[in-house]
Symmetry: C2
Amino acid sequence: MQSRDRNRAALFALAITFTAGIVLTLYRLASERHLDRISNFMVAVSKPSSISRCGTFRGSNEIWEESQLKYLRLPDDKFTIAMQTFRRPMELNNTLQALLRENIPSLSEVVVIWNDVETVPPSNFESPHGVTVRFRQSNENSLNQKLWPDPEYQTQAIFLSDDDIYYEPQDLEFAFQSWRKFGKRRMTGGFARCAVQEPGGRWKYSFCSTEQGHNMYNMILSGLAFVHISYLDYYSSHDAVLQSIRAYVDEHFNCEDVAMNYMVSLLTGEGPLLVKGRVPFVNLAPANGISTRPGHLEARSKCLNDFVDLFGCMPLMNETARVEPGVIIS
Amino acid sequence: MQSRDRNRAALFALAITFTAGIVLTLYRLASERHLDRISNFMVAVSKPSSISRCGTFRGSNEIWEESQLKYLRLPDDKFTIAMQTFRRPMELNNTLQALLRENIPSLSEVVVIWNDVETVPPSNFESPHGVTVRFRQSNENSLNQKLWPDPEYQTQAIFLSDDDIYYEPQDLEFAFQSWRKFGKRRMTGGFARCAVQEPGGRWKYSFCSTEQGHNMYNMILSGLAFVHISYLDYYSSHDAVLQSIRAYVDEHFNCEDVAMNYMVSLLTGEGPLLVKGRVPFVNLAPANGISTRPGHLEARSKCLNDFVDLFGCMPLMNETARVEPGVIIS
């Protein structure tokens, strides 16, 4: 009698396991087949995208999926300014004042990335419009600090910026809305640059050209660019290639923005997005900035080619379109 | 013994049913919760979007889901021109010649919607660049013919156009690429118009304004606009509201494009997208066209208000951004 009960219980358990397995498999197959038929025209819900193929770079779909899922709890209708500064209090104050004097409806917080490890940063404060300005001292003067996915960030959208360049407040809000509508998978901002291939095959850094047939761009610099926080997460991850990239950036003290453009286009297969404001952005362009030093263009060209080696391909995508505000009457 | 076997079989069946139910429910809950967390930042796969809420209009999510799924087998990297014409052979030939004289890489087919029911249309032909021009005679002279989802269309993208207006070939390709990248859920084209609310609450049709604070638009006319074929499908469906709309368009011989803008914004909750080409689009604007007749603006304003009644809300969304070609050097 006990043995018969045991048999019955075993049979029961077997039935349960077996059925669960079959039902689960059938359900998964059915829903995958259904999803496969649906294009990105419909955007109600999605699964994490996988990495687009380019040369020998494979990246880690595991890290990328994690980077995408990690920040979904954050709102996407507000943004954070991540502004890097190093011993230029006048430019910094000037830029902060310009950004805080008007209400920018979607601005949540300004984080000043204080790369001077020797001087204590000013205290945090709140602007008259209720925006918190938080000073975050870096533990080393590294350009990678600006691209670090600070766990205290409260928004999906991060506006990467420098202390000497800014969109006027209205235009910054417009650029953010453009990022939300058109540029979430792109570096979206005001400052375009080009990698152009020379006859011998080498890549050359340039300011781009508006000549017909060349009127395009393939990078948006991180002095003035919205980027989704998931890209900062992947950039700062333990992916082996990105580890080499970060070491390269620290060694050469340059090209973190070139690296970011490579990485975003590698992950998405898309180009960046140029957004022009109602008025030109302001560039305080100090005479001692990195980008005006002799040899700057050569150093940037070297990065372009070294990164092709490090990533194993040239991922930048040419984009011919830009976004501007306003209607045209016709 | 037989009774015990029956009991055992019944218990077994019960176990199977019970387990299947539980597993399926748990799996569905888990995957829905997972999907809910994922924003449209990730676009790899999606499920059909449901209709956004606006006033009393509910639409039919069933029809809309069907309209979305029906055309997924069609490529999204080519487009079809659907050009409406009525007894204007000179304008028609002029426009066809302009569009066919250069290679437009993504153009798949031109369908001329021949609304003259009394004259036999010309024969189909193939352009030197291999584009088929197909004449499709309407069975009635109705403006709804242009918005009919012809089962012979071979592409998801349909470029709605008239016989007297065109983008230059390069710009048409640019507008198509902009649709693909930024405007799949929008009426995307070259010709913007505005519905503006007057102090009394009535809506007024206008050419829009570039004055600060008003520099926006909420309609793109179908003389020059890309639209996804799924929207044509819903427009032509048995949804009761759309049936009244089509009857209205036939009765007034006007406003099919206004109706389309209402419907697309109702379905998506998004505005349209203005794309400016490298050069201005060509408008042959004959003196006897509908839009130059006296009373045109009043008739269009009447449509705006009548459609608010028919749809049960004002769904148009103001858009402040437009797309243009080329880089800006800074």
